[in-house]
């Protein structure tokens, strides 16, 4: 193996989390995650977009002092993309580890974000890593890797917007400890929005109130209602001097839905919470 090529290829996905990321625990998720890590159980983070799944994982990687390998799954992601492949460099064939293989080798936390987006056959390659064998077989090189104790596999999964055809197979999902994520309770969310965006408590409180109202539309035409992330974005715009109503229109109403009626209703809610 030629280290330079290898390093170049996988570096992009590996992060050493050196500074403590801001994360406010909602329930016992930190303790659960630590227990799972200690017992070498794979973890599944379930929940809608923008509620802090990725942030939580960065926080945990920092807490546990492990590097984090993140793979954003997409529908063209193949098993080779995870495991590695032979590349030809100057007439020579070189094996390059994929991010999963690399994470196993260095004992990192491997995070497969939105795993259902990946091709069905891809998810199967993680199976032997998730049970007590914790092994990874590289067919092409004939290598059999045994994961070190520090290695941990984490997947995220958003049950909300996946279509019927894209659902996690029971045989996959039942290999994980599932931690449910939902929008944080209002008090906590106020803290989060205030901290992340820099707006004052009062403004954060109103943003959170707006978020709460919009989330009531969850089953009425909105698949993914205003996430904490969107509230933070609106807060950032407000903090930079954009008028609150306009900021919410830009950061919340517009991204949330293309349905004109829903958008109009959201704008009405904005006008209800924020005066001109």
């Amino acid at each position: 193996m030629e280290p330079s090529v290898n390093a170049r290829w996988v570096d992009a996905q590996v992060t050493e989390v050196s500074e403590e990321p801001f994360y406010l625990p909602v329930r016992d998720e930190v303790a659960v995650f630590e227990a799972a890590y200690a017992r070498r159980l794979p973890v599944m983070l379930k929940g809608p977009t923008g509620v802090g799944k990725t942030r939580f994982l960065r926080y945990m990687a920092w807490r546990l002092g492990r590097p984090l390998v993140t793979v954003a799954c997409h529908d063209d992601l193949t098993a080779s993309d995870l495991l590695g492949r032979y590349l030809i460099t100057g007439g020579e064939t070189v094996w390059i580890d994929g991010p999963l293989t690399h994470a196993v080798r260095i004992g990192a936390i491997c995070y497969l974000d939105e795993i259902v987006e990946a091709r069905k056959d891809t998810t199967v390659v993680i199976h032997p890593l998730t049970d007590d064998r914790r092994r990874l077989r590289l067919e092409k090189t004939g290598e059999l890797l045994v994961a070190p104790p520090e290695f941990m596999l984490v997947i995220s999964y958003n049950p909300g917007y996946q279509s019927l055809t894209k659902n996690l197979k029971p045989s996959t999902r039942q290999r994980f400890v599932a931690i449910d994520f939902d929008f944080p309770p209002p008090d906590l969310e106020v803290e989060i929005v205030a901290h992340e965006s820099g707006v004052d408590r009062e403004m954060a409180r109103r943003l959170v109130k707006l978020g709460g109202l919009i989330r009531n539309l969850r089953d009425a035409g909105l698949d993914e209602p205003a996430s904490t992330r969107l509230l933070v974005y609106a807060g950032l715009l407000i903090h930079s001097g954009i008028a609150p109503r306009r900021a919410c229109e830009l950061a919340i109403a517009a991204p949330i839905s293309d349905d004109p009626a829903v958008r109009e209703a959201v704008l009405d809610l904005v006008a209800t919470v924020f005066a001109e």
């Binding site: 030809i88 460099t89 089953d219 009425a220 209703a265 809610l269 904005v270 209800t272 005066a275």
Partner: protein, 633 residues
């Protein structure tokens, strides 16, 4: 007299004629958005509905917010929109804060206490609203100022104590706590016993409870209000009669189906699926005509026990005149166990068009649901794509191979995706939907709290179906059937196989109206003939009916059921897949005998929707059925 007439003639045109002056904003235009708005504010617990025409102010019964059906567009359209929004928010807050719990109001002087309470709690809700939803506060303050000015301009009612209290309260600002505000010139009745201080204190409170006590106190002092107080129009009225209706929404213990001098219950209890009630012919046209609520009570069914064997009239063949221009079909005579050849004359006509707005309205009202259905149907959409650069596939992808070879020659890593694959999409499904338009579809659905007519449910079902199918390329047609006797069976074409779903078809769906009788057999035979000629691999025949086969000339009871069953069997023998949906709770007694079916009754529908639409909607049939079943929900 004459002079005044002349004067009037000379007078300029009344301002009312100017365009824009009488412009109104109708609730229907804003319905979709307001419904979402109310849903969001009330965490999904309230819906909106139009109040009776002419109402100026909102009301709520704790389940729905009743809004005026129209508001004048003053000062502008946007102004009316804001007013609607404020009204809705006001009513939501009223329902949410427990203001509607009227229990401690006294029985001895209820009207006066209620009026006082309405006044006080109105002020309380105003303040609470401004705090809770500050975006609405400026507009609310504006309306309060307008209200005060209008009241001060009105001299006549100024002497009432309630009116004075209201004016004083309207004069107070919304924002600083009311208790800190000093008001002079109070009527002496309020200064005794610290009523005014208590009142101001209660207005700042988080709980409407003290207001009730105060209302009792004030009512006792005043005994009765001199005039019924005219409260600001943006506030939701307390309507005890609406609140009293609340349990009615919760427990569907409506009076049972009217049981007149009929014997159909014992018949059903006998468990004989073949004994169904046949209406006496005289009643049916009456029901068909009676579109009012009375129709519901007119559903008096008489026992059609095993009716008399064929009468002489039934054995007379059709005359040449009766056959002219018609397609002829046989009918199964269960009494003799044989077909009666060329027995029924079926004629096709285009369905009449109606007001397309009706369809648009359905779409507006159910937009999220329709959207959801479309998405679900998209999942059924097979992809017909030539997928290139695949990891596996039926063919080699030459372009990819050339590239990979070149890469390898160049010393680069060759691509791995060397195959191509074609996903087939055959346009091989044809759906014919046959809709019952008999007089009985004008009946009201008994077990449905909304009291809809069967035809309305049918119409909604068709709109949903068409919308959902518009995302697929399945070919489909919709036929309605009705008729009077075997000589005049009618098929109304609502949508032909080759017609697009557009304004014309929508108009025809809107124009559906109950006709006469339900002679299902010939209609089924006719439409299955049309369907069988469609080039498709899978042909589906779907029957939407309110159930009972029935016609004037003895086509009812067992005879009708047997013929319908036979017609469905024939369709299946022709290779058509058939299924039936009924909008009638009783249909479960006899439908299984004719066919496996799904009930469109209100309760069954929502349960079915949960199951079918979200999870098991894997086949076309169940998908169509699911679409239709949601219309009852």
């Amino acid at each position: 007299m004459l002079r005044s007439v002349l004067k009037r003639l000379r007078a300029p045109e009344p301002v009312a004629e100017q365009p824009g002056q009488h412009a109104v904003v109708e609730l229907a235009e804003l319905e979709t958005v307001l419904a979402l708005y109310v849903r969001a504010l009330s965490a999904g617990s309230l819906r909106i509905a139009a109040g009776p025409s002419g109402t100026r102010s909102p009301a709520t019964d704790g389940r729905a917010v009743f809004l005026p059906p129209a508001l004048p567009a003053r000062p502008s359209l946007e102004g009316a929109r804001r007013r609607y929004r404020l009204m809705a928010a006001w009513a939501v807050l009223q329902a949410r804060t427990g203001c509607l719990e009227l229990a401690p109001l006294p029985p001895e002087s209820p009207a006066s206490a209620l009026a006082w309470y309405e006044l006080l709690h109105g002020e309380w809700v105003d303040r609470r609203l401004a705090r809770e939803w500050p975006g609405l506060a400026p507009f609310l303050a504006e309306l309060r100022r307008e209200e005060l000015v209008a009241r001060q301009a009105r001299r006549s009612a100024s002497n009432g104590l309630a009116e004075q209290v209201l004016r004083h309260l309207l004069d107070l600002p919304l924002h600083p706590p009311a208790a800190s505000t000093v008001t002079s010139e109070l009527p002496p009745a309020l200064l005794e016993g610290q009523v005014w201080e208590r009142l101001l204190g209660a207005l700042d409170g988080a709980d409407p409870e003290p207001l009730r006590e105060l209302a009792l106190d004030l009512a006792a002092r005043m005994l009765a209000l001199e005039h019924p107080l005219d409260l600001p129009a943006y506030r939701a009225r307390i309507r005890p009669e609406l609140l009293a209706r609340r349990p009615l929404f919760e427990a569907p213990e409506l009076p049972d189906r009217p049981v007149g001098p009929t014997l159909d219950r014992p018949a059903a209890r006998r468990g004989d699926p073949l004994v169904v009630e046949a209406r006496s012919p005289a009643q049916v046209p009456q029901r068909a005509r009676g579109s009012g609520r009375g129709g519901r009570h007119a559903v008096q069914l008489s026992l059609g026990d095993r009716e008399a064997p064929p009468t002489l009239a039934r054995l007379t063949p059709l005359s040449e005149a009766e056959k002219a221009g018609a397609s002829l079909y046989p009918e199964w005579d269960c009494w003799s166990g044989s077909y009666l050849p060329d027995w029924c004359a079926v004629r096709e006509t285009r369905a009449r068009g109606g007001n397309v707005d009706l369809v648009e309205r359905i779409l507006r009202q159910h937009r999220p649901l329709v959207q959801h259905l479309k998405q679900q149907f998209e999942a059924l959409q097979p992809e017909r794509l030539r997928l290139t650069r695949q990891l596996d596939g039926d063919e080699l992808d030459l372009a990819a191979i050339v590239e990979a070879t070149a890469d390898r020659r160049a010393g680069l890593s060759p691509g791995e995706k060397l195959y191509s694959r074609t996903l087939e999409r055959e346009r091989s499904i044809a759906l014919a939907c046959l809709v019952d338009l008999s007089g009985s579809t004008g009946a009201w659905i008994d077990d449905d709290p909304r009291n809809e007519q069967v035809i309305e449910v049918t119409r909604r079902a068709l709109v949903f179906l068409c919308e959902a199918l518009s995302v697929l390329e399945d070919r489909y047609a919709i036929f309605g059937f009705t008729g009077t006797t075997r000589k005049q069976c009618q098929i109304r074409i609502i949508k032909g196989f080759d017609e697009p779903y557009g304004a014309e078809v929508k108009g025809r769906i809107a124009g559906l109206s109950p006709g006469a009788y339900t002679r299902i057999g010939p209609a089924l035979r006719h439409v299955s003939g049309i369907l069988a000629r469609q080039p498709a691999r899978l042909r589906l025949l779907m029957l939407i009916s309110d159930g009972r086969p029935n016609d004037f000339d003895g086509y009812g009871g067992r005879y009708g059921i047997e013929d319908t069953r036979r017609a469905l069997l024939e369709a299946r023998q022709r290779g058509l897949a058939t299924f039936a949906l009924t909008i009638d709770a009783e249909a479960r007694d006899y439908m299984p005998y004719m066919h496996a079916h799904l009930s469109l009754g209100a309760g069954a529908a929502s349960a079915y929707r949960e199951r079918a639409v979200s999870h098991r909607m894997t086949t076309r049939v169940s998908a169509y059925a699911a679409v239709l079943s949601v219309c009852g929900a």
